[in-house]
């Protein structure tokens, strides 16, 4: 275990690391359904333009990503692929669950083939509710996550409650 993971870094160094991490998030877009289009609007469209927040939307593979945005309906057939790609991401990694379907199943709460919440498969840091959420809501989720990362203590990662955008 390195010095960073052990959490024994001096405070100024930690805050320097955190500041640089929070403004260079590579977001892997796992677009599945309707929310994928709103995510595309938030990340790619000129009106919302996520890059001004220091988020880079187009990593070549999950192995280069710090943040994955699961947006849309997750079916049981898709679950193994999601888990596998999450496992491929390097630590520290964060997950945004975008939209009601990824949060809890949404309008398909009684469907036989839909996973009732992506948190059954991978740990989630930010829940963005809505069906689909507006692009502004996703940006709010990203900003809240950046605030969290800025204050993060390296040793205590994963111990906080997930953020719910409201």
């Amino acid at each position: 275990m390195g010095l960073v993971e052990s959490g024994k870094l001096p405070k100024p160094l930690t805050s320097l690391l955190n500041t640089s991490r929070k403004y260079s998030l590579w977001i892997f877009q796992w677009g599945l359904a309707c929310c994928a289009i709103e995510m595309g609007a938030a990340l790619g469209a000129p009106r919302y333009d996520v890059m001004r927040l220091g988020v880079i939307p187009l990593p070549a593979s999950p192995r280069q990503a710090d943040l994955v945005c699961i947006s849309g309906t997750v079916t049981d057939k898709m679950v193994p692929a999601i888990r596998r790609l999450y496992d491929q991401m390097p630590d520290p990694k964060y997950v945004i669950s975008m939209g009601s379907c990824a949060n809890c199943g949404g309008p398909y709460w009684d469907s036989y083939s839909v996973t009732k919440g992506i948190d059954q498969v991978i740990p989630v840091d930010v829940y963005v509710p809505g069906c689909p959420p507006r692009p502004e809501a996703l940006l709010e989720g990203i900003v809240l996550l950046q605030e969290r990362i800025g204050k993060e203590d390296m040793a205590a990662r994963w111990k906080g409650d997930p953020i719910v955008v409201s």
Partner: protein, 391 residues
């Protein structure tokens, strides 16, 4: 939301993996197998395509779907009629309003109700707006897949104007859920007509821009002309519909042939066809269809009749026993609902016919012998939406 331990999460994922394993034993004596998807940008969601390659050439190809199957036909059986529109909005998520209309029309047909003319005209206007928002994304998307990223930014920019108009009228950017049995939820807001006309001008500018930026581009033409040619007889044999069929030269549009009470035959517009049947033709037909849609919207806004927007409908909607089939020309092609009612609060059984399912059936035929980059061109030009395939 109860937090699960990592052990539980892994167990869930592994169980699903064991359950849903697709056994695709491609004999790989010669050639190699390449897996495109299920999360590939060219698949508009989660379509998995297994290609068997000889060098760079495709020997055979198999699309595997079901990654977005949400069990619509089963869910609809346990919803009441007004609740169903909420669900069916999300079948083709780019042109949501167009999905509600055929279902509502089928229910109206069973109940023997006709919406007042103003409601039908507003329905048609919103239908065409959702078509514009759908296809304008296609235009940017197709260019993006071929390697021109800036067209996608322009498409997203101008699509927002249309979404603004849909939001102003219905309250929803994406899923309006605005249609009711017997009419519409609300009348149009103040000043909406003038705003929409201004938006239509912007969209026509967008079409001009795309024609010079994408369509006239030499690289674009080289990569699309003669790629993925689907002759008319093959297209008809595979049950294709919509712009894909019209790009093969078949003059067939349900808006003109079967307007089911909506206002398309009240105005002057053309069905666009192209004789080539290649990827360029499919792009060209769709781009021209945006223009035709703006023409339809402009004319309908000019002649919008006054009057109520809701017919007399009982408070609790019970549909009498019977069966009805209504199909309309959605942005992606023919979409229809076959509704069976047993007289209850909800439908007994609904069969949903969506366009993309038939449109992608041709992929194994059309990709035989093409090169790998052309597969992306063909997939992009066929333009399917996964929610529309899997339902």
């Amino acid at each position: 939301m109860t937090a699960l331990t990592e052990r539980q999460q892994l167990a869930y994922a592994n169980a699903q993996a064991a359950d849903g394993r697709v056994n695709l034993e491609f004999e790989t004596d010669e050639g190699m197998t390449l897996n495109m998807g299920p999360q590939h940008p060219a698949t508009h969601g989660t379509l998995r395509i297994v290609l068997k390659l000889d060098g760079e050439q495709v020997i055979s190809c198999e699309p595997i779907m079901g990654y977005m199957h949400r069990g619509y036909e089963k869910l609809v059986e346990v919803r009441t009629y007004p609740q169903v529109t909420t669900l069916v909005n999300r079948i083709d998520w780019l042109g949501s309003f167009a999905n509600e209309v055929p279902f509502i029309l089928a229910a109206e047909k069973l109940m023997d109700i006709e919406a007042p003319p103003r409601a039908q005209w507003i329905r048609t206007i919103l239908f065409e707006l959702s078509r514009i928002s759908n296809i304008s994304l296609f235009v940017g998307d197709m260019a993006l897949h071929i390697g021109a990223i800036s067209a996608a930014f322009y498409a997203f920019r101008d699509r927002e104007y249309v979404l603004n108009q849909i939001e102003a009228a219905t309250g929803g950017r994406f899923h309006p859920n605005f249609d009711r049995i017997g009419g519409l939820k609300d009348d149009l807001p103040k000043g909406w007509i003038a705003d929409t006309k201004a938006t239509m001008n912007k969209i026509r500018d967008f079409c001009d821009e795309m024609e010079t930026l994408v369509e006239g581009n030499e690289i674009f033409q080289t990569r699309t002309r003669g790629i993925g040619v689907i002759p008319a007889d093959v297209a008809l044999a595979y049950g294709m519909s919509g712009a894909n069929l019209r790009a093969s030269g078949v003059d067939w549009d349900l808006r003109r042939d079967e307007p089911v009470g909506l206002a398309w035959n009240e105005c002057d517009w053309n069905v666009i066809t192209h004789p080539d049947g290649d990827s360029f033709a499919r792009f060209w037909v769709r781009l021209q269809e945006i223009r035709e849609s703006t023409r339809i919207v402009d004319q309908l806004l000019d002649g919008l009749p006054a009057g109520p927007i809701m017919a007399k409908v009982p408070r609790i909607i019970k549909v009498p026993e019977g069966e009805a089939w209504v199909a309309t020309e959605n942005p992606l092609g023919e979409m229809g609902y076959y509704v069976v009612s047993k007289g209850g609060l909800g439908p007994f059984r609904v069969k949903i016919r969506t366009a993309s399912f038939n449109n992608i059936a041709v992929i194994p035929w059309v990709t035989r012998g093409v090169y790998v980059p052309d597969v992306v061109t063909i997939l992009a030009s066929l333009y399917f939406i996964l929610g529309d395939i899997d339902r």
